[in-house]
């Protein structure tokens, strides 16, 4: 009975105190990792010529970016020392945010907050989600189906055009942030890169060591989609690029990570002359809400935008939440200056169900472009079939390297815009595909002229979308399966998919109200009643590379 009374008392007290405790604990940090941000960098000296790689200096001079600004200056050492003495340990010193990542107890934190040079303290407790998961399928020797899939992932972007023109990303430096790069130092898919010593820098920000050839094989597959090749078959487009490998994530199955590794890595990439950053990672529900995906809230978004302001092109996977409860792009894919990449199905060539949707919480279009979300990549021990926007992103990073090589005078944001313009849908866009799949031909021919493939016709109170006769499919094959002798369905190399027509309803402010993809079976594809639309609304249509609009 005594135990019962004690338990009852404890319970009643806990319920009674619940409200009181909650508000009392609002400012009481329980987790252990924090970002301590300082007020100033007064009196700190900085020499960009000794700190930056020569390529960083060249980039900044070339594009008129100041050789240094206050974000490049180191954190004041006396601030770092003072805080370091008060905590259990520190993890990263972050120049761009003038901050120190620490592991501290609640009591230690309370003391730190009292320091006059501490501006604010933010809890760092987030987890990243790799935007791709290896499937079970594994093949060293590709089946005809997988071989066609592999060729498709690069040909869809215009591999042949780039390589015939001699563009393979040579001279462009690509930094990859991922969860590990096992076998990159021995894997035959990267032999051509190793032979030329084109892996310039490596750093494991999780363990603070140089060795990154361990842990999750996700980064290995991602790298192969940028510049890997297996024999004569190319996996990615930028086989001539230079590489910097940063391990920023911890685990392989469910990666646990802190954003500060990403923040430290982006500074490292800038310092060491990276031109392009590929990040196939996204931070979502572990720390944020969808409405916070506004490109300004998260540290990684702010860091990505800072990187862009310093001349780097940041390419990031949109995420794999399209069919999940989160649904939208994660961060830093939400950042304004990040080229966010969605995934398309390799057979249908439109949005694959898992690819995260836009827009951002503040209504901006994301993703910006898209690429295959189902790919053949080189894993730890061979070619593997895998899926995720993790692999669409490096395909675009490789594309960007080739595009930049083709026109080195473009600044990073000019290149960003040109990649968007090269999309198969441009100027049409939607929140599943962005501007579509970028095309190398745009950079080779420097123009994109497409004859009209359809017309928008008015018939009294109606408007109709009529495609040109040559695009009316006479016959088509919906299923890419065939019966085997055993009576089972077997995948076969896909045939030309049915033509797709993209259309959207655009509001007066330029945002989309609704958007659709429909398969085209006949000449008269769509019909609308004019009086169903208020003046100012638009219907945007894209078909076979040609896009136009009708305004009500």
């Amino acid at each position: 009975m005594k135990i019962k009374k004690t338990l009852c008392t404890v319970l009643l007290v806990s319920i009674a105190c619940g409200y009181h405790i909650t508000y009392a604990q609002q400012t009481d940090y329980i987790a252990s990792k924090y970002l301590v941000m300082f007020t100033d960098k007064d009196g700190v000296e900085f020499d960009p010529f000794t700190y930056f790689d020569v390529k960083t200096i060249e980039r900044r001079i070339k594009f008129g970016i100041p050789l240094d600004d206050i974000t490049d200056y180191p954190v004041k050492q006396n601030y770092v020392d003072a805080v370091s003495k008060m905590v259990d340990s520190t993890t990263q010193t972050l120049r761009w945010f003038n901050a120190l990542a620490v592991i501290a107890t609640t009591e230690q934190l309370a003391s730190i907050e009292q320091l006059p040079f501490v501006k604010e303290v933010n809890e760092l407790n987030s987890k990243a989600v790799l935007a791709g998961v290896p499937t079970d399928e594994f093949n060293r020797n590709l089946t005809p189906y997988n071989k066609e899939m592999l060729e498709g992932q690069t040909n869809a972007l215009g591999l042949k055009e780039f390589h015939e023109a001699g563009f393979d990303g040579k001279g462009v430096r690509v930094a990859i942030f991922d969860a590990g790069f096992p076998t990159v130092d021995i894997n035959p898919a990267f032999e051509h890169i190793r032979k030329d010593n084109r892996i310039l820098k490596t750093h494991d920000f999780v363990r603070n060591k140089e060795d990154v050839y361990r842990a999750s094989g996700h980064g290995t597959m991602v790298m192969s989609c940028i510049g890997g090749k297996f024999g004569d078959t190319l996996i990615g487009l930028a086989t001539g690029a230079e590489f910097m490998l940063a391990r920023t994530e911890r685990a392989s199955i469910e990666p646990f990570s802190e954003e500060e590794n990403w923040l430290a890595a982006v500074e490292w990439a800038d310092k060491n002359g990276a031109d392009i950053i590929n990040s196939s990672l996204g931070y979502t529900k572990h720390r944020y809400f969808p409405e916070q995906m506004d490109g300004k809230t998260s540290f990684v978004s702010r860091a990505a935008n800072l990187a862009a302001s310093k001349g780097l092109l940041v390419v990031n996977a949109a995420g794999n939440e399209g069919s999940g409860s989160w649904k939208y792009v994660g961060t830093p894919a939400d950042a304004d200056s990040v080229l966010s990449v969605g995934g398309v199905d390799h057979q249908t060539h439109y949005h694959t169900s898992f690819s995260s949707y836009g827009p951002t919480a503040d209504g901006r279009m994301k993703p910006n472009v898209c690429a295959y979300g189902h790919v053949i990549a080189s894993g730890k021990s061979g070619l593997e079939k895998t899926q995720g926007t993790s692999f669409a992103s490096p395909l675009i990073a490789g594309f960007a390297a080739c595009a930049w090589q083709s026109n080195g005078n473009l600044s990073n944001m000019e290149l960003f815009k040109e990649i968007e313009k090269s999309g198969t849908l441009y100027p049409y866009f939607d929140y599943a595909h962005g501007f579509g799949i970028p095309q190398a031909s745009y950079f080779i021919d420097n123009m994109k002229e497409v004859d009209a493939t359809f017309i928008i016709d008015e018939y009294g109170d109606y408007i109709k979308i009529l495609i040109n006769d040559e695009y009316v499919p006479a016959d088509f094959d919906m299923l890419n399966f065939e019966d085997t002798e055993l009576g089972e369905l077997k995948k076969v190399p896909y045939k030309e998919p049915k033509p797709k027509l993209f259309y959207s309803i655009e509001l007066e402010d330029g945002s989309l109200e609704t958007y659709y993809v429909v398969s085209v079976d006949q000449k008269e594809v769509l019909e609308f009643k004019k009086y169903d639309f208020r003046p100012g609304k638009k219907i945007n249509v894209s078909f076979k590379g040609y896009s136009t609009s009708y305004e009500f």
């Binding site: 619940g18 529900k285 809400f289 409860s325 945002s511 609704t514 659709y516 769509l526 169903d532």
Partner: protein
């Protein structure tokens, strides 16, 4: 804040969208196949329900075992006894640190009793196998204390709560093998020596959908007039939130 005018506008929009949809369905009914359709305007409305939003509810299943203690009317075979729950849990977020909630559940408590001289519940007759199975419908109330900053995620938490349940049926189940090799299984219902109302306290430690719990029953299982020694007061196990 959402004004009435906005709501009306939104409803008008939805009605309008529905009309357009029906119209398009008519078109596509005889012609095109819609492969992708997204309503971007609707999507940008922030929800109020979610793992770390104002309201959250989900189903869960739970499996635990009674933990023997010294004051029992029979030694319980822990590995062969179980508590199984299937329930619905609601959480009302008060702050990032604190939430209140309730759950309603169906619960089966199964006590598999060791057949030895120490067994005196419900009687001293020994069988090959014997169990008491309580079928309950219950309600729980709990305080939830969350730890760590998080986004739209249930996160790590400690629940402290109470529960009360109504035992709507008790079954006494025995199994015996007769000397002639025949097996006899009895399933006796309509018993009246149990307390229909039970209550107790529960503590849960949760990591997103995975929850470990320990429960302490404050009430008696058996009606006092029968003067039966009690079965274990403590149970512990794991719950899985279906979210």
């Amino acid at each position: 804040m959402c004004h009435l005018k906005d709501i009306q506008h939104h409803m008008n929009f939805r009605f309008f969208t529905l009309l357009i949809g029906l119209m398009l369905c008519g078109i596509f009914g005889f012609a095109q196949q819609v492969l992708l359709e997204q309503d971007a305007t609707f999507d940008t409305i922030a929800p109020t329900r979610g793992p770390n939003r104002a309201n959250f509810s989900h189903f869960y299943i739970s499996y635990g075992v009674p933990i023997s203690d010294v004051h029992t009317g029979a030694e319980i075979l822990t590995g062969k006894s179980f508590d199984f729950d299937f329930g619905y849990r609601y959480k009302r977020k008060i702050s990032n640190f604190y939430a209140l909630g309730f759950e309603i559940y169906y619960k089966v408590q199964d006590f598999n009793m060791k057949q030895d001289s120490g067994k005196i519940v419900p009687d001293t007759i020994l069988h090959d196998k014997e169990r008491l199975r309580f079928n309950n419908l219950g309600v729980g109330l709990y305080n939830r204390f969350n730890f760590g900053k998080r986004g739209d995620l249930v996160g790590n938490f400690l629940d402290i709560g109470v529960y009360g349940s109504w035992t709507y049926r008790l079954a006494h189940i025995t199994k015996d093998e007769l000397p002639n090799g025949n097996k006899v299984r009895t399933h006796t219902r309509g018993l009246n020596y149990y307390e229909p109302i039970n209550y107790g306290v529960i503590v849960r430690l949760g990591f997103n959908r995975y929850v470990f719990y320990g429960a302490y029953r404050l009430s008696d299982l058996f009606e006092q007039s029968y003067n039966y020694p009690e079965l274990p007061f403590i149970s512990a196990g794991i719950q899985i939130g279906m979210h």
